[in-house]
Amino acid sequence: MSSPPEEVGERFLPSVDRLEAAVHAGRKALEGGRYDDALRQFNEALRLKPEYDVAWLLRGHALRRMGDFDGALQSFAQTLRHNEESEEGWMGLAASLHELRRYKEEAEAYDQLTKIHPRLVEAWLNKGAALHDLKDYKGAIACYDKVLSLRPEHAAAWNNKGAALLRLGDEAGAAGCFDEALHFNPDFFDAMVNRIFLSQRQGHHGDVAFWADRALRVRDVAWLWYAKGLAHLGLLESTMALKAFERTLELDPALKEARAGARRAKSLREKVDFYRGVYECFGTHLAGDPGCAECEIAARCREVTR
């Protein structure tokens, strides 16, 4: 049962009620996407109690969502001034620094946070991502290894580690990491995309087409259709390539490369147009595989498999 209003009025600090009401209203507004209202409420709360770290934190989030990253950064800094061990404060500060592309400072913020919470997986993962942006791939891998020592099933960490290894030229290691990521989360879009980049780099058109097909089931984006079109061209599947380029142009008509690709597909169709029918392996022939041994079109796959 709620207490009668006259009791509330007799409280020693009546401003406490106003403060609580302002923060509560601000939170509601933030959740409802009314960022201006939220900001006004948090400002009111901070007028009543300027050293209230929670109000600074929420103000930072409101500003971040409004796109004012400088303002958000200031708010998170104020949060940490009043509560220097605030996990949310450090995460918000680092996120704002990331938006402002101040990666070095972002990594330092995560350093501070990991000193306070050494087992915070998100901090290690984001520190690795910041180091990746700074092109310190070995440092990034160390961070991902730390995450994986704490949570070996962390698909994002496997994916990020693979991305860093790919940058260092370790294709086999990267492939293993992407496989792990996709094992733990078979619908992980980023891991599929990285698998596509790896296969493109290795010239495995069949794998590119296969993974692009799977990734497109998760997210329908023009540049993936373009990559798929190029792979079909490599597999001598002119009609499939043409369809892929046409879909690319539907999604992004300004992409000139797709137009050129469509022209090439049309000209190729006059010479060759391979169709794999029930086989959706897209020429990913693997010597010794029982499925490939039984395959009726294995000879054609071998022609295009590198």
């Binding site: 949310e88 918000g92 942006d133 595989d289």
Partner: protein, 406 residues
């Protein structure tokens, strides 16, 4: 049609995989990895994880733990069957939580009759909670009939006997327990404390000796052994025990105090005073100060004794001993009327008071555990939601505008 498990698909050989694919109506043609992925996708999308829901018994057990014994008891009652003792035990636990001790005992009794030996221990606990230690010990006996070497039951029985005032019997049970489990030598200390409480000083001293055989550096055992020896009149040996402690830790206030008392018993008032004052310097408790004051009074240091009594009264204003002693000393200080002279008699030799002198301070054999303080977190948890994900940042830049020439 039942779906295969993910593990089954992942580890299936090619023939099995083809069979599974065909059975599920999927295309079985292509590279094995691709077919396997196809089947896995199908299973993952079709399989629906069944959410776990606690059964009535689990709900009842949880409710008991969460402090809702009445609701728990109602649920347990609904699960009772003729041939299953577990619900009766659960019902008894819930009733015990609700304070219905007689009903709880009956429920445990029913479970015990159905053949659940552990119900006897629960019954013993509920009987002890109602203050019936004799029956509680008997319930332990009933359990021990089924499992004669069970240490928990033996120690519980010893505890109940000790609570009921049968210290000798408790000590016997504990001794039996140690003899059946010789690897638990450190429990001798508990037995020693039990015996000391029961004023069985000789046996207590022996128990502490056993405890010290297991851990020769255990201060509490040395001090308590010294106390037992002192109470048993073996002053010299007691002094030796206290000195053992002080060699390792010269600031051990309890050992200093007890050593002072032992010296006083031995008639060495000066050594007693030195040790007691040292003890008071390290730990100013009313008991130690009282010992100091009594020694000072015994050695005719009236003003020092008065000061010590005042210090006691500052710590414990209503201490009867200190109030009486101060009154006595103040009265003796007042000028007396000159008494008529009598013929001088030879002065009697003053004896050091035995009974009313200082008592050794016993040390608790087990320190009280300090509750760990939970740190309170401030701030909203929802702020975590805004944690940035690493997804869009970690993958290499998309090569969307790069054309590939073949």
């Amino acid at each position: 049609m039942s779906l295969p498990s993910l593990a089954e698909v992942e580890h299936a050989d090619w023939a099995t995989l083809e069979r599974i694919a065909a059975r599920l109506g999927l295309n079985p043609k292509g590279r094995s990895g691709v077919v396997r992925m196809r089947v896995l996708d199908h299973v993952r999308h079709r399989v629906r994880l069944e959410s776990w829901r606690p059964g009535v018994q689990q709900q009842a057990a949880l409710l008991t733990r969460l402090g809702h014994p009445d609701s728990a008891a109602r649920l347990w009652e609904s699960t009772i069957q003729l041939d299953e003792p577990a619900p009766w035990v659960g019902l008894g636990r819930a009733q015990l939580g609700a304070g219905e001790l007689i009903e709880a005992t009956k429920a445990f009794d029913r479970a015990a009759q159905m053949g659940d030996a552990s119900a006897n221990l629960h019954r013993a606990e509920s009987l002890a909670a109602s203050g019936n230690y004799e029956e509680a010990a008997r319930a332990c006996d009933a359990y021990l009939t089924a499992r004669p070497r069970d240490l928990r039951a033996m120690l519980l029985k010893a505890g109940f006997l000790a609570h009921g005032g049968w210290t000798d019997e408790a000590a016997t049970v504990m001794r039996d327990a140690f003899e059946t489990h010789p690897n638990l030598r450190e429990l001798w200390r508990g037995l020693g404390t039990l015996l000391l409480k029961g004023n069985r000083v000789e046996a207590a001293a022996e128990a502490y000796r056993e405890a010290l055989r297991a851990d020769a550096k255990d201060e509490a055992s040395w001090i308590n052994r010294g106390s037992a020896l002192l109470l048993g009149g073996r002053t010299r040996e007691a002094i030796g025990a206290f000195r053992e402690v002080l060699e390792a830790n010269p600031r051990q206030a309890i050992a200093l105090n007890d050593l002072g008392v032992a010296y006083l018993r031995d008639g060495q008032a000066k050594s007693a005073a030195i040790n007691l004052e040292r003890a008071a310097k390290h730990m100013e408790t009313p008991q130690i100060l009282l010992n100091v004051a009594k020694v000072q009074e015994a050695t005719h240091q009236r003003s020092a004794a008065l000061e010590s009594y005042s210090r006691i009264l500052a710590l414990k204003p209503r201490d009867a001993d200190a109030v009486a002693a101060r009154k006595r000393l103040q009265l003796s200080k007042a000028p007396r009327r000159p008494a008529p002279r009598k013929a001088r008699r030879p002065l009697k030799k003053r004896r050091v008071p035995r009974k009313k002198t200082a008592k050794p301070t016993r040390r608790k054999s087990r320190p009280h555990p300090r509750a760990a303080r939970k740190s309170r977190r401030r701030g909203p948890r929802e702020a975590r939601r805004t944690r940035p994900t690493s997804k869009p940042r970690t993958r290499p830049k998309p090569k969307r505008a790069r054309s590939r020439s073949r």
